[in-house]
Subunit: 340 residues, 4 copies
Amino acid sequence: MLVIMRDHASQAEIDHVVSLLHEAGAEAHLSHGEVKTIIGVIGEREVMYALDLEGLEGVEHVVRVLKPYKLVSRDFQAHDTVITVGTATVGGGAFAVIAGPCSIESEEQMMATARAVKAAGATMLRGGAYKPRTSPYAFQGMGLQGLKLLRAAGDDVGLPVVTEVLDVRDAETVAEWADVLQVGARNMQNFMMLDELGTLRRPILLKRGLSATIEEVLSAAEYVLKGGNRDVMLCERGIRTFETYTRNTLDLAAVAALKTLTHLPIIVDPSHATGRRELIAPMCRAAVATGADGVMVEVHIDPEHARCDGPQSLRPDEFEALVDDITPLVTLEGRTFGRA
Amino acid sequence: MLVIMRDHASQAEIDHVVSLLHEAGAEAHLSHGEVKTIIGVIGEREVMYALDLEGLEGVEHVVRVLKPYKLVSRDFQAHDTVITVGTATVGGGAFAVIAGPCSIESEEQMMATARAVKAAGATMLRGGAYKPRTSPYAFQGMGLQGLKLLRAAGDDVGLPVVTEVLDVRDAETVAEWADVLQVGARNMQNFMMLDELGTLRRPILLKRGLSATIEEVLSAAEYVLKGGNRDVMLCERGIRTFETYTRNTLDLAAVAALKTLTHLPIIVDPSHATGRRELIAPMCRAAVATGADGVMVEVHIDPEHARCDGPQSLRPDEFEALVDDITPLVTLEGRTFGRA
Amino acid sequence: MLVIMRDHASQAEIDHVVSLLHEAGAEAHLSHGEVKTIIGVIGEREVMYALDLEGLEGVEHVVRVLKPYKLVSRDFQAHDTVITVGTATVGGGAFAVIAGPCSIESEEQMMATARAVKAAGATMLRGGAYKPRTSPYAFQGMGLQGLKLLRAAGDDVGLPVVTEVLDVRDAETVAEWADVLQVGARNMQNFMMLDELGTLRRPILLKRGLSATIEEVLSAAEYVLKGGNRDVMLCERGIRTFETYTRNTLDLAAVAALKTLTHLPIIVDPSHATGRRELIAPMCRAAVATGADGVMVEVHIDPEHARCDGPQSLRPDEFEALVDDITPLVTLEGRTFGRA
Amino acid sequence: MLVIMRDHASQAEIDHVVSLLHEAGAEAHLSHGEVKTIIGVIGEREVMYALDLEGLEGVEHVVRVLKPYKLVSRDFQAHDTVITVGTATVGGGAFAVIAGPCSIESEEQMMATARAVKAAGATMLRGGAYKPRTSPYAFQGMGLQGLKLLRAAGDDVGLPVVTEVLDVRDAETVAEWADVLQVGARNMQNFMMLDELGTLRRPILLKRGLSATIEEVLSAAEYVLKGGNRDVMLCERGIRTFETYTRNTLDLAAVAALKTLTHLPIIVDPSHATGRRELIAPMCRAAVATGADGVMVEVHIDPEHARCDGPQSLRPDEFEALVDDITPLVTLEGRTFGRA
């Protein structure tokens, strides 16, 4: 941490900062320029993040050099985290294709979709049982009944299943029925849920919040790892910007940046990011070329009658074409699909 | 809802949309232009929000005319909601001044701050017992012990107390000890928590999410009202934009817009919005002039030793000057401070 | 400037940075921590901004402490700049009310509007002769003929006139006919135009770009002052964010921040910022309470037939009510309208 | 265009809108619902964009169905525009690799870089002679002398040259010395310059503004085509968002969307978009996979001594590796490098 003092800060102001640092157990290294003094601060992460020096007299601003996370960083673990769940693997060269409907609607819909995505080459099956909806008047999902349908469909076709935990109180129940627990964008900084998921023995798929910075995504993942659960996949699903043509703005440079900063696998969700069916294939290709470890795509046997996200859901034949489309790219990038 | 068909959409495509609408129980009104057909749709809010027509063949886009909320709107209730809690009133001409530390740190700090803000003219006392922090290595609050200190301080000075519910599992406990339950920006779309708070008999202070639109704020409040709890205050606390000089961008036009759209009281939090002590007074004045129903300000007896948000916390004497500063403006706007 | 080296940067890397700094004529002050070395750099603004060290081996990042501007800052000139133009004054306690139509459309429209805004209390008259329009198919303004109508209307009612320079080649012509030259948001970083305006003897009204930071606004103004023209007013007119309910997001905290950073007068334009007539009055009140030095408002005698920006234009009676509305606030803030 | 009336708008209000439409020469088609009337409007693009109905009594809002552009759209021209300039081709399957330094600094630097990028496989040479810089104290480019160096270097290696026009008054001069004229992000809505460039016989490379929507980019290009110049390439170079880890946010979904909306070639500039050398290769690969028609990359023989943008400039060997890296992807996408 660097404390940059205002021009011509007084000796008393400098001394005061230094004494506060010592009080807190940190070391201070002073560097005096003609008009400016800069204080380099060294200490434990816990100590540094408890210090709040920006309001002090004479302090211009504080630059944090230390990152707010540790366990998720490449500095802590250089090699890729590889997550194995049932028949599927992701990370370290294994590429995941996660597919299924936005929401689970019926046994028939779930079974038919599961068979179709399995046949087309999906490595995991997704489906929403608890749906976060902006309006309380929109369909909120089938709940536990949906979970059971998802489990049955996954078992039927031999694919591990991914579903969202919407309520921390349901985490254990969801963990009974699902293989991978998804944290939605709106809950990325629901720290209580992250703490709880850190205690479970299920891989977590953590979606980036709509206005979360790269540092905040990594800090959110740190909560889970700190709790003891090392199996976290991050998911880029678009950030909120001024552009309204697409539902959100897919930030693929963040994916490339995350690959350099963390050992955790990174998944890309072009369905939610763009909200437009015609953009899903190019964005899947781009995700592979960027170095992502997988894609997650909404597939519905009958998008016209989907209870949510119809416009961005692929039909099974479109999904099959998509997998065919990305296969040579996955190979070119030196990856293999993470299927048993 | 309007369904705008693509140029020269076929009769079959149009008929298909119309038949789906009838299936769902909605009425369709067609308007044919030379190149375009537009379908006006009329139906119940629940039906309309369950329909997802944007993916259909021949559909260009869908314009939702119906709002995703009802109970919170001025159309549903024209007069201002007035919330009374202990000695304090907010809304309908009563202006709230909510003050206190970012986090509760000790009995001494809490008591001294409570006395200072009461003396300076605060109408409610705030303090954080459960703190949402980006980094798991930062101070997370005193928890239940903090709640009890807040309660005691509020009772001592005769002010109702406001505190954040961070975990839906704690909602009832917090409701036992606090008068007003705050939902933080990161939890604005934690729909499970909103549902739970809808069942409680405590006023809610709902903060706007960092990237939440005006419509999303109102929809979040709708969850609480739909659950049966009509006492909701909204709080503008800055949105996330490209500008980094201030911590967030305070959106006062949203406050003015909300006053036209909803009957709920609107509070402004310039401390979190700006993150800079020197901007708090001008933004409080601007909030009053905009027509807000109150302000919420961080006050700490010793900002230099605050465990969070020191840079944006006012000292008691600064807070006193602030209340003096806004008093003539409050009067000019035809408001009175909401004190018993 | 601070150069923060990567953890355990080699001595050779550090020496290399230092030698580059010396080459450029800057001084380097080293501060060694256990894992990190930080290099404080001191030199002339011109030298510092010519240095680009971020790509060097061993450099983690560079923190610029020196601002990219000088003449516009309070450090350079502590007292408010006061601009006098004809009968109007702005800055240093004098509050400006700039009003008129978005575009000049006819002699009748311009004369009638000029008389109405003068009667209601405007201190300057605005009108657009050259209009920047997103679509080449939209009305582009009356050009020189419009300028002459504006001049005649200003002379008739005794108000100085403000109009936009859209093309650097027209700057001198516009300066012949108008008293204040406006630079639109889209041209805020048209540095060639800023250079040209720096050589003229007319006050400049410089609008903040849609995605310009506070630092960029000040740097743009620096171009004009560096050219020799000290009479610059800045204008906050909303920034582009994810919120679409309002046309842009009015950033009043930036106005308060600018008042601390620069001695130049700050004008607020709520018409373009909100794009909604019903939000103009509350945002004008908020601007006064924030400490702005003036407001700029679109007024049209017949908004329904306006050739641009009808929805956000006030009718003369609405404008009169607005001036009456803000008058007590202007007084409360210790300002007086800047009229001769 | 659709005019959506407020609930229960009066017949007089509806009649008034209709009469204004007829006055303007547009046709009105009414659709009456139980609570709402919707008016469909049909007319010429010029008429529609001159109408401003949103301020009218009884009007809730106006939905523009007609796009503000025509000549640039796929509806107007279905096949890809192919631009040939000297030895280079771009569009219609021909992939461009535009490389060179941010700014032209000396004959030696320019010649050496030109030879290096030609040898590595560049199809066009870029270099900045006029540099837009936030601070007036930063290096502003070599001007005409730089142009001549660029021309000589291009001729020496047999590559067409691309450079920015910063001042409309220089457009003709730049057109004498350069093959492709670049419009920078800050000038994307400098409509006077766009008009001027429409009259020249040089291909234009139009960069997306930092906060420009897809529709605004296309409308800006429309200005050039409307002037008679059909050879325009668009360039995605990152938009401004809240994320600060990268310099801007590269919007590849916009590239995919533009490919569906327009026949003009789309170039991607990952250097300015990310501002980080390590992200350039993955973003170039992603650009190819997205379907872009070319990439533009900053290359400098000695990034450490570059006078601008050092951190994001590749060394010649890194650039060579980059071209090798994307070659199989370009082939996989069915493209060939656009070299003579």
